[in-house]
């Protein structure tokens, strides 16, 4: 029956967001540092960014992302220090 006293507290994670190509042009930047509550998934991070409005509101709701240089799904849980890259349609070759 133990119960924490005081208001609940959240550990926060430092996450780095990377933007390439059209996303970079859209936002006018290639890199943003975010602080997010522990337990945030990719989808939550996207929601947070889109919620900022302005150019951020034009990011897709379900973008392709890579977490730490590997493609990841939207329900991927983030960890402190993760690097999340927003990947517009690739066009190598």
């Amino acid at each position: 029956m133990g119960r924490a006293f005081g208001p609940p507290f959240f550990l926060s994670m430092n996450i780095q967001a990377l933007f390439f190509a059209s996303y970079r042009d859209l936002l006018g930047t290639g890199e943003i540092a975010l602080s997010l509550p522990e337990g945030t998934a990719v989808s939550g991070m996207v929601a947070e960014l889109r919620g900022r409005g302005g150019a951020f509101g034009n990011l897709p709701a379900f973008p392709v992302v890579a977490v730490n240089e590997e493609y990841a799904s939207e329900d991927r849980l983030l960890r402190d220090g993760d690097v999340v890259a927003f990947i517009p349609p690739v066009a190598g070759g």
């Binding site: 190509a21 240089e69 990947i87 349609p89 066009a91």
Partner: protein, 160 residues
């Protein structure tokens, strides 16, 4: 001896230098694929391309794709270079060299690598047109498309 070389490069790709390593004495076939910037795409006159890259991920992805091809097609000699930065028409953007004992596997491995690369490699290209305009290939100007695959649905590489 397995020799896989993969790199994202900024300098011009010189096919002769790549071929200098090919093939080994066990190989009966070598296929060299070159992706080249061509002067038109989807009805527009192209004068050049600018490639942007997610460097760390692209290097890793290229190495993984080469290793997959080596494993699948039994090739122990593969070189894959992708150039980034600004390229003019006629310049080589991609070089893939594969040597195998028999020819079928060399063709298949080469094809595998270019197709996977186009699907997975985090590289983007901006086409520069004769009329002064330019555009990211495969992206809407205002990206609103949802639930899109990494290679997009409108992706039609200029250097095929």
């Amino acid at each position: 001896m397995r020799v896989l070389r993969t790199a994202i490069v900024t300098e011009p790709i010189v096919p002769e230098e790549i071929l200098a390593d090919f093939p080994s004495l066990e190989d009966g076939a070598c296929v060299l694929f070159l992706g080249v910037v061509r002067n038109h795409n989807q009805g527009k006159d192209v004068i050049g391309l600018g490639y942007q890259v997610y460097q760390g991920m692209a290097e890793k992805t290229l190495a993984v794709i080469a290793a997959e091809a080596s494993h699948r097609f039994g090739s122990d000699r593969i070189t894959v270079f992708h150039r980034i930065g600004e390229l003019r028409v006629g310049e080589v953007s991609t070089a893939i060299a594969v040597a195998t004992p028999h020819r079928g596997e060399a063709f298949e491995a080469s094809r595998y690598i270019i197709e996977e690369l186009k699907q997975r490699l985090p590289i983007w290209k901006r086409e520069h047109y004769v009329d002064g305009d330019s555009d990211w290939v495969g992206s809407n100007t205002t990206p609103k498309v949802e639930d899109r695959k990494p290679d997009g649905s409108r992706d039609v590489g200029s250097a095929e």
